[in-house]
Amino acid sequence: MKMLTFANRTTKEILRDPLNLALGLGFPLVLILLLSAIQANIPVDIFEIQHLTPGITVFGLSFMTLFSATIIAKDRSSALLQRLYTTPLAAIDFILGYTLPIVPIAVAQCVICYVAATILGLKITMNILYAVVFIIPVSILFIALGLLCGSVFTDKQVGGICGALLTNLSAWLSGTWFDLELVGGVFQKIAYGLPFVHAVEMERDILAGSFADIFPHIWWVLGYAVAALVIAVLLFLRQMKKQ
């Protein structure tokens, strides 16, 4: 009950910010439309709708990191968290209250992307539903990164680190915009050592119905998600104690 009250507040704060809606729900949609328009004029394999959409749904989650990091950092700077720490809310209430409300927003973003993709020619299959379901663990990874950044950085720093750095990293190293094999070398090795490209390839395999191929990508995603969540919780508890 206490956690749900806090989670409800998190949802309201995020959804009432028009910039959040524009970035989180609008921007991925614009990218799909824009890149599909480019694809119509200059066909590129990677921008075919069945390849592009899973990449955009994963890239769009970088805004979930921005949402969670921003709200935590702002709560810290405004002392709202300080006030709430003096109430009966426990640490687990805070962590779940910041994490859970963003999951449905991430799923909604994914659904919107797939609806747009079907209008642009993506074949409607049950695999779309599976792709939406499997976006949940990926979203946990991105939300945990937000919890981690929000516990460490100020609201201004969060804008730069999550808004600029993470969105670029998750874009360049995900194989959404260009084939990583074209670059190869250390760049490709770094990309495959991080979870973003694995998340995109897992989603592409699910959409294509190649469920056997989601391994080992899913292990990378789950491994990073668990690690990010554990580190995020520890850092959140540390800043809570530092109050």
Binding site: M1, K2, L4, T5, F6, N8, R9, K12, E13, R16, D17, K74, S77, S78, A79, L80, Q82, R83, L84, Y85, T86, T87, P88, L89, K241, Q243
Partner: protein
Amino acid sequence: MDAIRIEALTKKYKDVVAVDNLSLTIYKGELFSLLGLNGAGKTTTIKMLSCLTTPTSGDAFLNEKSICRDTADVKELIGVSPQETAVAPGLSVRENLELICGVYGFPKEKQNSKIKELTELLGLEAVLKKKAGKLSGGWQRRLSIAMALISEPQILFLDEPTLGLDVLARSELWDIIRSLKGKATIILTTHYMEEAEELSDRIAIMKDGKLLICDTADKIKEIAETDNFAQAFINIVKGVSK
């Protein structure tokens, strides 16, 4: 009867001693002010008493509950209005109050009656539907105090409640604080002399984490050999009083 008993409370941050061996007693129903310059240790004291910061040594007892061992019990006793305007900016005034009611697990009926009562007490009717982030500093402070009062605290901490407010907003907030007298034991931190003198039953003056004096405003003036409280404060902080 004692509401708060502080025993040799100390807080160190690396080489800095923020609060140094503080001992004092605050009585039930009292409006008690912690007065001092910036960095005197007022906010750190409040943070320790409200279980936000663990003391390096010493202890304090709020209604006989230890801030070191009985933190859950202490949290049930207190309400805190922090120095910064600690409100959820994207929520309306009513939603902010509902948030705190929910955090304390109030049923719907109690929630509605509590919001009505505090809205009237703090004069928030006109702004109840407005977003907290759009309110002026004075209104945000009122909301912040209302949020601190929701849990019907026996001990209320007001950390610099009028900081940055204009004269009129400050005067209005003083009236509100006066109206709270008797409803709870109130501990107020401030660096405004007139605020401490005007509102408090007793005043503790702190400097560099140490307690210099703790008495009524009149007694402090008498000890400092002046009729002016601001001058008395200066004399005591500079160490020129007897």
